[in-house]
Symmetry: C2
Amino acid sequence: MSKDRPGEFELIRKFFAPLASDPGSLGLTDDAAVFVPEDGCDLVLTKDVLASDVHFFRDDAPETIAAKALRVNLSDLAAKGARPRGYLLGLALPSDWTEGWLERFCAGLKADQSAFDIHLLGGDTIRSGNGLQVSITAIGQVPAGRTVRRSGANPDDVLFVTGTVGDAAAGLKIRLDGGFSAQNGLTASDERHLLDRYLLPRPRLALARLLTEYASASMDVSDGLFADSAHMAMASGVDIEIDLARVPVSNGLKRLRSNARSTYVACLNGGDDYEILAAVPSSRATAFTKGAASAGCPVTAIGTVLEGGGHVTCLEDGVRVDWQSAGGFTHF
Amino acid sequence: MSKDRPGEFELIRKFFAPLASDPGSLGLTDDAAVFVPEDGCDLVLTKDVLASDVHFFRDDAPETIAAKALRVNLSDLAAKGARPRGYLLGLALPSDWTEGWLERFCAGLKADQSAFDIHLLGGDTIRSGNGLQVSITAIGQVPAGRTVRRSGANPDDVLFVTGTVGDAAAGLKIRLDGGFSAQNGLTASDERHLLDRYLLPRPRLALARLLTEYASASMDVSDGLFADSAHMAMASGVDIEIDLARVPVSNGLKRLRSNARSTYVACLNGGDDYEILAAVPSSRATAFTKGAASAGCPVTAIGTVLEGGGHVTCLEDGVRVDWQSAGGFTHF
């Protein structure tokens, strides 16, 4: 039960203090950080815990483990329309951690801090002896009262999604099964793209401001396109209809669609996409699409919000399927 | 690598949503929480990670594990002069978790939420398969610019400590060694008190407002009285002299002082006290003492801040010992 305190202080000084460039972090030399909220802003708070063998592989590059842990939180901020301000890092190091590993982990954080304009405010490091766990609390800000919730979707809204869907789930399948790409006719370039999408989410922060201006509801897609659409439909008390033909997918997923239809649909709902699902009033859909393109964050209209009670239906070749009653597409 | 999502949603609904009484938590139904800062306030942010077999015993009562995880964070808020506003909970459950265990864990949180006027804002639950880990991020508020740092101590300040020191360390020794109490002449009542002090910190939130009004520096004692005094001295660029005879101790520690002097001194610097160490200008020391008594949080003047460069000296029977050069009292 001993605490190797000199070790902890040395860790902070050597590895974490250089990441704590915000004055409120007090150089990580105090019990806590001081955060000065900007006038007229609300804060958005999110916390995700990632563990080895659950959310990433033990032998993933330390830089990508760090980036993934930070980015899944940044994705939540983006979905709520928030600009990142800072984060706190809780790190439980396994008994066999090395300084070299931690150096690379912190390099991953540092690169993402620059990329996404966010700073380490504080945290805690322990040695758990039980695998690696990374717990990040991220803080973002939105103009007061403008946080975009998942519960605000209205009938006649258009449902948009950013980027492409299903890549990360396919990447995980490739990671778990060395024969997956060959069996399903994926090229080496498909494989690289899909593996990368599983390893490294791309938080859609470029869209955050537009969401506060245009979206009636928004959330990130972490559990899968249909499951998360159902979450939005239930929270908003509406139905959502998705036109499967319009769901944007990468070249690899297109090949999967041709070669292994049921695997393709499973990937669409496989999760870990960290794209944004947003409901936008139809009268503003064109302006939103243009704004998103200018912000460098392509969006695709994939469906419509309807009156209803929390159901997602999918249109495929003119046929409507109720996703929930069909047991989440297990019939595909 | 599967995520048992329905399990997670059910957990949230059944166990955590009832703790999320703050409207900003959005009933834990969204990606993130919304936090509305009060005008004219800064926020204080702190994060501690606790793991079984490191910070608590696996077979400790779930209620006390929950309370300890929350309270070590509340102690940091108190030391900075902050009033608690909310917290985020990251919970990694071991593979053998049960609903009964989680129910008691949440009951512990609920009782402390009432006791300390704080609410669950959000969080994340995972199953790690690797022991229990609890990661809490707590948020408090202080009047703008009034956060009390550990770096503000000035020569001629009086050094105060709340409550009694050394109890938790003695409690841990009792916990680890069944013969400890008998060997050192501790009574059954001493033993109960000391064990309880190890299990359950008492965050000194009643003192928070007074600290913002009176203290030039403050921190909580988590690493031990002398070690943390040295942290304050180094951060403030001063020396601190502690009069050992004035350090407030419980009856059990008094008996330890008589019967096992070196163990007694080790306990004074054993950590986990979660009392507050505060430097107060001498001209205001009497008013601070009175205010603290009125707030129900007894304080004792145990030393003086002197010009210097980060050293702690202890006065014992008229003899001055430099704590750092004496290797942290290993000579006792």
